[in-house]
């Protein structure tokens, strides 16, 4: 087991595409580290560089104490699970699992023992004698995970391993992976573009955008205080409302007069945007205390909650999360007020968190 240190990683493909611009990551030993970002932001490329399947243009990668820049994948002692499971089609499950071990030249008895153990962990017993094409997607994925396990590598790398599964199975597998990682205590780097997956799995999350790291933090940190406008707009479903605000006599006010609790140390003379979570707002009867007049544009009934989309002077499409018991008709005049603590505030020009 080992931590992974990525410093100043830069990858430019021969065709000129800069897939990774500048990435620093410090992944701790035993951590479940998630890399999250939109399609094409360089997640896979970063992961493949760590695995040794892609040579970075510049930058260093360390696994444990070893600088692995020039080590071939085989010598890095890591296992990778791909989005496309890459089980050898001509081998039965049993042999697929045994393959990496035979490659290492382990004695037969130990190979059998380790295969049994991995099969038990991933509950593959009845599937051991089937070939991949006779397994369902979920089963194939379990075999792929088991294949990563048998080697007892220093770290697991997972590239969107659940993307090809349906929603229900995905949730199950998520729990399973998290449980497994906790049990084994092996460092895991998990790549996904699904924020739910990222939030529920990760000890820490790195948010990537255009080949750069926007933020690294625990799921809670990332959710509460997105480090940039990009993160603010990316995390959460629906994401934060980005509301232009001004500082006036110690208050934070939107153009329409909506008052927000101001964070301390607000800089002056800058154009600011506050990131307000939908659950930090409230739709009220018109004219309620501290509320500003607004109008319901639409409502999404999600069963356990309602997402109201409201317009209020100068701001369109503000999203508010309300309990399902509070009901307003579309087009109804309502009040809108802020109920949460101080929101994160961003500078419009730098797009960075300022307070």
């Amino acid at each position: 087991m080992a931590g992974i240190e990525v410093s100043a990683l830069h990858k430019r493909y021969p065709d000129g595409t800069v897939a990774v611009d500048h990435v620093d990551l410090s992944i701790r030993d035993g951590e479940l580290f998630v890399m999250l970002g939109p399609s094409g932001c360089g997640k896979t490329t970063t992961l493949r560089a760590v695995a040794g399947l892609e040579r970075q243009t510049t930058g260093d990668i360390r696994i444990g104490d070893t600088l692995v820049n020039d080590l071939p994948p085989a010598d890095r002692d890591i296992a990778m699970v791909f989005q496309f499971y890459a089980l050898y089609p001509h081998l039965r499950t049993r042999d697929n699992l045994a393959f990496p071990l035979r490659a290492e030249g382990l004695p037969k008895a130990e190979v059998r023992e380790r295969v049994e153990e991995a099969a038990r962990l991933m509950r593959l017993g009845p599937l051991l004698d089937r070939r991949p094409h006779r397994l369902s997607g979920g089963e194939q994925q379990r075999v792929a995970l088991a294949r990563a396990l048998v080697r007892r590598p220093r770290a697991f790398l997972m590239d969107e391993p659940l993307t090809n599964l349906d929603a229900e199975l995905r949730a199950d597998m998520r729990t399973e992976i998290k449980h497994l990682q906790g049990e084994l205590g092996t460092t895991m780097v998990y790549v996904t573009h699904d924020q739910v997956e990222a939030m529920s799995l990760g000890h820490r999350i790195a948010i990537l955008n255009k080949g750069r790291v926007e933020q690294i933090g625990t799921p809670l940190e990332v959710y509460d205080r997105p480090a940039s406008l990009f993160c603010a707009a990316f995390i959460g479903s629906p994401p934060m409302n980005l509301i232009e605000v001004e500082v006036a006599d110690g208050k934070l006010r939107s153009q329409g007069g909506l008052a927000l609790t101001p964070p301390p140390d607000l800089p002056r003379d800058r154009r600011l945007v506050a990131g307000v979570r939908p659950e930090a707002l409230e739709v009220t009867e018109p004219g309620a205390e501290h509320s500003v007049p607004a109008r319901v544009v639409s409502a999404e009934w999600l069963g356990d909650e309602i997402i109201y989309v409201v317009d209020h002077d100068g701001h369109r499409d503000v999203r508010v999360r309300m309990p399902p018991t509070v009901r307003f008709a579309a087009d109804a005049p309502v009040g809108l007020r802020h109920t949460g603590g101080p929101p994160p505030v961003y500078d419009v020009s730098t797009e960075e968190l300022v307070a």
């Binding site: 994948p73 085989a74 496309f84 890459a86 094409h133 090809n164």
Partner: protein, 303 residues
Amino acid sequence: MALSVDEAVSTGPARDHAPPSRRFGGRGRAVLEVALLTVLAVVMLFPVLWMIETSIKENRDVYAIPAKFFDFKVTMEHFKDVFVASGGGRSTLSASFLNSVLVAGVSTALATVLGVPAAWAYSRFSVKAKKDQLFFILSTRFMPPVVVVIPIFLMYRQVGLIDTKLGLILIYTAFNVPFTIWMMKGFVDEVPAEYEDAAMLDGYTRLQAFWRFTLPLLLPGIAATAVFALIFSWNEFVFAIFLTSSDDVRTAPPAIAGLIGGTTVDWGLVAAASVVFALPVLVFAYLVRKHLVAGVTLGAVRR
């Protein structure tokens, strides 16, 4: 999803169930189709049929006017003449058949050994100006062989390759390598690179990964490609007739053509030699037909 090539083939028959919309016209259309196909088959197959008939007719019946279609005496004399010289011993024709086997076999093997790894490399690695290189490789097949035969003849004379089997093998290989690279690149593209990635993480080198995981999946494609290369080399006529002259180097196509052109032509012998010449390729293609179909249709199957 992991899909082996054999499964890819097995999806074929499903397509025989025509969707309802194609049933439009029903019976009349079917009759028309069968009629057209029959006409086509007769036109295509008649020369073949006539060749086979001629090869087993006695000379008397071969030259009979009007031509005899059915009531002739069957003889195997012509086939004996193909292999056995008139004075006993091996005939020159049989020697040229052996030459054909050797030249076609070796050149196909060479083209496969050179072309498959090249195709793999073009598919897997980023190569500078890859598209241009591939276009250049293909462009060597644009012109008909007869265009380059004179320069090749002159060059071969310089280096002493005229009238040698090695010379023929080299030129056929040179023609088959581009074809092999192009065909095989398609097949390699179809095999997910993740197999090799996974194998490399499992402790294999890149070459081992190719050899142990990608290559077995490529076998149907290789078989298909090799059959096409083999057929090209086996049937090739222009280079064979220009670059060889002696009986112990000549391949079968010029040797059979050489039978025609004396004052009298032994058509029975020509036909029998042609049958013997056509047979191996037919048998071979039949044996690997499963792979051939897999090879030709593989690109159409989504994984």
